[in-house]
Symmetry: C2
Subunit: 351 residues, 2 copies
């Protein structure tokens, strides 16, 4: 299983694997060595590996092409599996990553990941040392060719900090985060109602208070501040969730990741063969440019990954195959393009 | 001259102008109202406006198309002129901006602009208030269609801070910054020798110690940290320059901005009609993706502009018309693409 050392920046170089591993947890932590129903690392890893398999299968069934799998580990523990479908029949680029990270992060990255402000105290205020952490998650972005078929992103993750080395008594923190959101280039009200409806149904199974809150948080999170517009039409987003018990939050991640395929795949099946003009493709490309702007400038997962020396190709897999920036582009009033832009500027309630 | 209010995020909305103004300085500060040979605001504005005109003229002569001009002012002072040539015969996108900003910046933006660390003291450590500043500069990026013709960027700027409102006795700071750098997709040694040679000659007129230092700083600055490669093949870069007298630093900006056309235009004239394959165009597009990554993640001017509420279309004019991200792309050993990548990973000395 030993592989070749591949490029990485920062903490520890990853080692490419020749086979797909059954676990990315450290020796002795895996469920068959030390099965423990209270061990959230084990449970969450099992959840995301299973979600990766079933979601990739559903996408392959529509696209007709197979995902390429890359796996890697880090000598000190952790690793990842990237499934990427490039240049498919339906998707120009679809990726589903799982990763397990045992790391230490600089204060700055901790803040980028948690949204904690420099002055608010918290784990990062407990000393000058780096913050050791465990993180485990699944993330995915799918960009179809057809401008009428939407891009979709989801991410579900579990995070624990250990005490900093210079402050062994500092409190440990854990939290869950996640979300699923949709980025159309053209708006179909029925599609948005379907997508948001499935998100709501998944959340409602756990707590009916969740969807309205997560929908608002999603609209807030995906704001491209410098443009005053969101990258798309939202969905659900939650982060720093530790105010419920772990079982409930685990079930939430399970329901929501299980809702990805029924929420998204029918929309692509419906739109993938719609004829389109060159101008419509260009508008999609301009929206892809906004997607790049959001991910590189604001997205916590991306900026966190770039700063902590994650596997670059997996982190930037979220970027579209192609994107476009036109100077001073503004769609004419009353056009479908202006309607989409309005929905990005003034988020609507779909359900 | 009154115009329509256009969108902006942050401090103060800009107002589009119907005519190109003769000055962007505040009423009473302009040279015909209060001519003062020691007033660096006046002198630097005159320099950059004149450079904008002559450089645009030289580009138009090669391209055959004209730049579109947009001008705007802010009610509290300052403004800008953007010249953009889109969809030309030779360049897919070429832009030359001048701007004058009277603003106040949050501590964080001040640090992004100056590179000052959170703990190093300096102007931003003198209180909790925002930092008032004056900034004046020219910046430009030119992306040609032909993959054998390089992209070029330059930027020359003058910056002053005022005392923060809650610390009127804090010292004021001023500095000059600038640079010109080249981003080829394919390497021609003679082109790089020419480009760097012209930069060196311009610097040598002021101080023979400058070029080697600025060349190194350029290689350091344009590093895409998460990839361990530079966005291109360097040139010169300097920032925070206040350890010389203002006349010398003004002359440096004048020499270097005057060297832009002789350093760059001959390379484009030589390569603009070279036939190329679809694969070569795709490689250019992948390099354009790296350009986007650098600008959105690391470039001080871009991140500063996005945070301080600059005119977004002018700031992001630097992005290419189109870009591409392919998962795990690595050129085969021994190819011209691998040669370029090697030069981005291991900067060479060209002169």
């Amino acid at each position: 299983r030993a592989g070749t050392v591949v490029a990485a920046v920062g903490i520890e170089k990853e080692v490419a694997l020749d086979e797909i591993p059954l676990t990315l947890l450290k020796e002795g932590e895996a469920h068959w060595n030390k099965p423990d129903p209270n061990n959230m690392r084990q449970r969450f890893e099992t959840l995301i590996m299973s979600a990766q398999k079933s979601i990739c299968k559903a996408i392959e069934d529509v696209d007709g092409n197979k995902f390429r799998q890359d796996a890697w580990k880090r000598p000190g523990g952790g690793g990842g599996i990237s499934c990427v479908l490039s240049n498919g029949n339906v998707w120009e680029k679809a990726g589903v990553n799982v990763s397990v990270v045992y790391g230490t992060m600089p204060r700055e990255a901790y803040r980028a990941a948690t949204g904690e402000s420099a002055s608010s105290g918290g784990a990062s205020a407990s000393g000058d040392g780096r913050i050791p952490f465990f993180a485990c998650g699944i993330s995915s972005v799918m960009h179809p060719w057809n401008p009428f078929a939407p891009t979709m992103h989801f991410n579900y993750r579990y995070f624990e900090t250990d005490a900093p080395s210079d402050a062994p008594d500092a409190p440990r923190a854990w939290w869950f985060g996640g979300g699923t959101d949709i980025t159309p280039s053209y708006l179909f009200e029925e599609d948005m109602k379907h997508f948001h409806g499935v998100q709501k149904a998944a959340c409602d199974k756990i707590d009916p208070a969740f969807y309205p809150r997560f929908k608002q948080q999603c609209d807030d999170y995906f704001l491209i501040k410098h443009r005053g517009e969101r990258r798309g039409c939202g969905g659900i987003f939650y982060d720093d969730m530790n105010q419920h018990d772990k079982d409930l939050l685990f079930n939430l991640a399970q329901e929501c990741s299980g809702a990805v395929v029924p929420a998204y795949v029918p929309l692509v099946e419906k739109r993938k063969d719609t004829p389109y003009t060159e101008e419509q493709k260009e508008w999609q490309q301009i929206r892809r440019g906004r997607y790049v702007e959001f991910n590189l400038v604001y997205d916590r997962g991306t900026t966190f990954g770039l700063k902590t020396g994650g596997r670059i190709e997996s982190i930037l897999m979220s970027l579209p195959l192609t994107a476009r920036w036109e100077y001073n582009h503004e769609p004419a009033a009353g056009t479908p393009e202006a309607d989409l832009l309005d929905a990005c500027r003034n988020p609507r309630n779909w359900v």
